[in-house]
Amino acid sequence: MTGLLPDAGALAERMTGFLEAPGFAPLALLVAFLAGAAHAVQPGHGKTLAAAYLVGAQGRVRDAAYLGASVAAMHTVSALVIALAWTFLSLSDHLSMARLTGGLGVVAGVIVVVLGLWMLRGWCAGRRHGHGHGHGHEHGHGHEHGHGHGHGHGHGHGHGHGHGTVDRPGLWLLGVSGGLVPAPAAFVLLVSGIFSGRSGFALLLVVVFGAGMALVLFGVGLLALGGRTFVLRGLGDRAWLHRASRVGPLLAALGVTVAGCVLSAVAVGNLLAA
């Protein structure tokens, strides 16, 4: 244990060890799941930004699940592509892994900037429409209503304004950003699987690892949504809350944009140092 956090390194090491043991050990799946969960608990993966987005966009439980699944899916795909490129395209001859992950970090930061700018655009559009709350539409299901007033659109396009309903593309962007840089353990597991002739088992462990990550991110989303309700009940009709609510969406959008800029700048710094 490192403080209150589970020892992700030890779990990941144990998980990779199962690859070398003969046969199939069901315990490996449990260890992989715990290793993924422990990895997701560590700083990173945009948990705070995701929580902010879910709260700000009136997220539901299914949106939190979608976010967790998006991060896990992106993480698995990213680890798979890098492992294959490293093994068969001699990736490390052309690009050091530090530079590769540094570059992916920059992309992840830029994605957050794009999301922030998208939120800003939605806020501005909301002001132009003269109301501060949102409305949204989902593909193939007619439409959803932010606050109970109707709209005439019934066709398949989506847009979100201000702090309207959750936009799946926004969640998807967060998922891509959070899962773009894979865990070292997942990469090592896959290349070890290729080299040891157990790539199927390695992939299964990485998928289960991703499921562990997804559960934690889902839990963070649930905590954010539950926290919103909890704080709501605890606070009265405070004047400061009323004032802050007017600029809250703007601050959130600006905050996501600035956070994305900071993440990008840090990633660029890491990339240059690599």
Binding site: G44, L49, H163, S196, S199, D237, S245, A259
Partner: protein, 237 residues
């Protein structure tokens, strides 16, 4: 009364909480890249030579720095930081690798942790020597092993324990003639590699193809499942 006030507060809170969460994000440490120190695994390339085998060992720059510190090649203490659950040197550069390459301790270390043998279970050892460590960071260290006998061996048994004395989690990915592969670890540090004739054991191409196949199959099943769920929901609504 309470129930009538709730929606108004909820709307305001929905507006305020995201900003609070975003402002608090730096305190929680949200940088996606911060959780992922990443590096190349160690690699061994095994090739047949006239009298035995040639083996090239390559390791990531920070691993070379860790080894140089371990062998007391670098002067002065170096700060260590926790990255990805492992303590690693805070800084590492090409100079560390150059100093390590110039040290006679490198040859001693490599030859004590990398052994080659022939015969039944590799019981007859081959004599090794460090041939070159120039440009250690990019090209690696080249070692030549001369095996007893007048003819070149068809297969060798390799025992590799490189860097596992620094941390048991280190693994070495080996590639042999004909695409044969092996993974050396603290638990499995000995493998036989065929140098001539049809390769046996693991094969990188087969492993990669299997990985792609499993991924495509799994992705396909997942896609079909999601499509079926969507259709069922569509019918239900």
């Amino acid at each position: 009364m309470h129930s009538r006030r709730l929606p108004a507060r909820r709307r305001r809170l929905r507006a305020v909480l995201p900003a609070l969460l975003v402002i608090g994000a730096p305190l929680a440490g949200t940088a996606p890249a911060a959780a992922h120190p990443f590096g190349d695994p160690q690699q061994l390339s095994v090739e047949a030579s006239a009298q035995g085998v040639e083996i090239t060992w390559r390791a990531a720059e920070d691993d070379l720095t860790s080894l140089a510190l371990r062998l007391d090649v670098l002067a002065g203490p170096r700060a260590y930081v926790l990255r990805g659950g492992a303590m690693v040197p805070e800084t590492s550069d090409a100079d560390d690798a150059r100093l390590l390459a110039e040290s006679p301790r490198l040859a001693g270390y490599l030859l004590s942790r990398l052994e080659v043998g022939v015969g039944e279970d590799g019981v007859t050892p081959c004599e090794g020597a460090l041939v070159s460590a120039e440009d250690l960071a990019t090209r690696g260290a080249r070692l030549a092993f001369t095996c007893p006998g007048t003819t070149a061996p068809d297969a060798v048994t390799v025992r590799a324990r490189l860097l596992t004395d620094l941390h048991a989690a280190y693994r070495t990915l080996a590639t042999g003639p004909g695409g044969a592969t092996a993974v050396f670890s603290a638990e499995a540090d000995t493998h036989e590699l065929v140098l001539r004739g049809p390769a046996t054991g693991n094969d990188a191409a087969a492993g990669g193809l299997a990985l792609v196949g499993w991924a495509a199959g799994g992705g396909g099943v997942l896609g079909i499942g999601l499509l079926a769920v969507r259709r069922l929901r569509g019918r239900a609504s």
